[in-house]
């Protein structure tokens, strides 16, 4: 039930409001009884170090293409309605929101599964890179093998 004006992907530096995003997923959408949302935030610790913030880099053009593909696959695998993916880039401080994934569906199972699938694939395929700021200085994060394992389970 996605209408043509509903923008599914936003790559932005600005923060977002989860309440606004949920309202847009619900607006004129009486067919879907379920909404599942995920929000990822900047943690204050990682690998035993105190983190003061992150810098996120991405590959404009490929990022949107990669997310479009992930959403299209999710739509073939589950009976879902609307999808919204927001990912921020640039400088982010502790506690700030990084990523939002919202999925609607008629029944909860499809929205739960599709939401997790989109996040798991975003983590291993969308061209984003995190650089962490700690007391020891700045360092690019290494990819986790656990993330690859999770994506492969689908």
């Amino acid at each position: 039930m996605t209408n043509n004006t509903f923008s599914e992907i936003s790559i932005q530096t600005a923060d977002f409001s989860m309440a606004n995003e949920v309202a847009l997923l619900e607006q004129n959408n009486a067919v879907d009884g379920a909404i599942v949302t995920f929000t990822g935030r900047v943690r204050n610790h990682n690998n035993g170090k105190n983190v003061s913030g992150l810098t996120l880099e991405h590959y404009p053009g490929m990022t949107e293409k990669s997310l479009t593909k992930i959403i299209a696959i999710a739509k073939t695998r589950w009976d879902i309605g609307r999808v919204k993916v927001i990912h921020r880039f640039g400088e982010l401080n502790i506690g700030e929101q990084i990523v939002f994934v919202g999925v609607t569906s008629k029944h909860r199972h499809d929205a739960y599964a599709a939401n997790e699938f989109i996040m798991d694939y975003l983590k291993v395929q969308a061209p984003f890179w995190k650089k962490e700021r700690t007391e020891q200085g700045e360092a690019w994060l290494d990819a986790k093998t656990a993330d690859n394992t999770k994506a492969k389970k689908w």
Binding site: M62, H87, A126, A143
Partner: protein
């Protein structure tokens, strides 16, 4: 010409975000990597790293992917978004 772009840790280590190369003598991504690796010892180490990912015109590809003039090729480390 082939446009080549680099991201994240790789971009910083190369001290280069993009360059253009003649597509002559370059048939595949592997050929392009070999040509970039021939620049100096550091570039050789970085382009021989098997965890390096490649994309052509915004799609992930492997080393066998064919290239043509006008393509945009990207090299970057494994992604860490989300």
């Amino acid at each position: 010409m082939i446009k080549v772009v680099f991201f994240a840790a790789l971009r910083e280590q190369l001290e280069c975000s993009e360059l253009s190369l003649s597509s002559k003598n370059i048939t595949t991504v592997a050929d392009l990597k070999n040509q970039l690796a021939s620049k100096n010892q550091q570039w050789q180490t970085l382009f021989n790293n098997t965890s390096l990912l490649s994309a052509v015109n915004h799609e992930m590809v492997d080393n066998e992917q064919h290239l043509k003039s006008g393509d945009e090729v990207a090299f970057f480390p494994p992604v860490t978004g989300g």
